[in-house]
Symmetry: C2
Subunit: 256 residues, 2 copies
């Protein structure tokens, strides 16, 4: 196992198999779909920056104070000694480096997928994070290593407490309404595939846009809890499309 | 010629061949790419609603006062007696009805294209219309039939005069900066096609997203004027990608 890819991920003991992050799930689904052997190394939030600096990983973002922001997922591939940050770049790397595996960006689809992902982020994900971020906090490992760090950094970034960020009552209901409308727009795009059976965006073959969608759905399910009213409601949206997509991904929903 | 499709379009005598509207150009490009015979019937703005009511065309939008808003393009296909409103729906209709012509939505691409178009609208087109709308007014046929109607309806909708709408000086420069950044994002999506040569979104084959992009580029060029500083600047963006796309469409840039 020493010569396989390492996937760095953030653990939450409250979640089955510990993996909860939609971004690291994107990388894990990519590896699982392609059947590329890998192992997971778990890093609490405060361990990410030192580990990634040591590894020579690229930062993906900039902190409010201007310093580089190191995030997961990151993979290290010992066969090439490549260290790749960011789930999108990881999927692209795996496609390029392992051309005999299932392509997540089939020829001709990469530009279309990039535009689709952008629209998905802007319309289906731009409203939900105010609910999901505080709920994610509650699921992380308690204490300074993760939960406290997560609260402190997010509250500094948004200038309000996680409790202030999270809409309640009527406002929460309205927020879910916006989220639902966003996903219904995406459902409308799926319906444009008049000729296509299959649960995926291009029909029967899985691509990166499906990985993107399902990783966020899985985040909703894991963080909200599968018995929560909110998640049960998501399952009723758009003739059950989102639950069906998650089911189609079950065979790849494996943590190693 | 009596048995060919009719494309309804809005004329502007100040524009070569009269055709200037990005939306009707989408339908015209679709017909030209597919090589489907058609003729154009020109309707001044005030003639659109009565003609479309007579034809039984669907409204595509709602006016500020709640009444249905009839817009072009519309096509009438005498072979099926179908009347189709909206450029997107026209392209879908032509794909379905004429399956032996070049498909604008190749199998598996329709959902991806829908998301891509949405992102394109939100990022590349959402800032430019405040400049292009007043400039379009100036190019329309003068008088009550088109120019006056255009001004009156747009000013009622936006609650300001076309002159107030249009940014000038520093603000105009900033607006063009936003427009340029939007198109650069789209350029970044094109660049994801690492394996693809060709000027189009999926590589060498033209699809509806290309028709969409080029129709708006052509609007910029026709309305701003090809000798304008603004259009010459667009031609320098993104290593000349947009000028090259227009060139690749020249063979379909035909008004019949």
């Amino acid at each position: 196992m020493s010569n396989v890819i390492t996937l760095y991920d953030i653990p939450a003991a409250s979640i089955k198999d510990r993996a909860w992050s939609p971004n690291t799930w994107k990388a894990r689904f990519a590896l699982n779909i392609k059947g590329i052997p890998y192992k997971t190394v778990w890093l609490e939030y405060t361990e990410i920056e030192p580990a990634l600096l040591k590894l020579g990983a690229k930062a993906t973002d900039t902190k409010p104070d201007g310093r580089p922001h190191y995030t997961l997922p990151v993979i290290h591939d010992p066969s090439t000694n490549a260290v790749v940050s960011d789930s999108y770049a990881i999927a692209e790397y795996l496609d390029a480096q392992y051309p005999d595996t299932i392509p997540l960006f089939p020829k001709g689809s990469a530009a279309l997928q990039a535009g689709f992902v952008r629209a998905l982020q802007d319309l289906a994900l731009s409203n939900v994070w105010v609910i999901l971020l505080p709920a994610t906090h509650d699921r992380l490992n308690p204490g300074e290593l993760s939960q406290d760090y997560f609260r402190r950094t997010r509250e500094a970034r948004f200038g309000k407490t996680l409790e202030e960020l999270c809409p309640e009552g009527k406002e929460r209901k309205e927020t879910w309404g916006l989220v639902r409308r966003g996903w219904s727009l995406v459902d409308g795009w799926f319906k444009k595939n008049r000729d296509g059976e299959g649960d995926f965006v291009i029909g029967k073959e899985v691509t990166f846009v499906d990985v993107f969608i399902v990783s966020f759905l899985l985040w909703f399910k894991l963080i909200l809890g599968e018995d929560s009213e909110a998640w049960k409601s998501v399952l009723t949206w758009d003739e059950g499309r989102w639950g069906k997509m998650l089911e189609a991904f079950e065979k790849w929903q494996v943590v190693v």
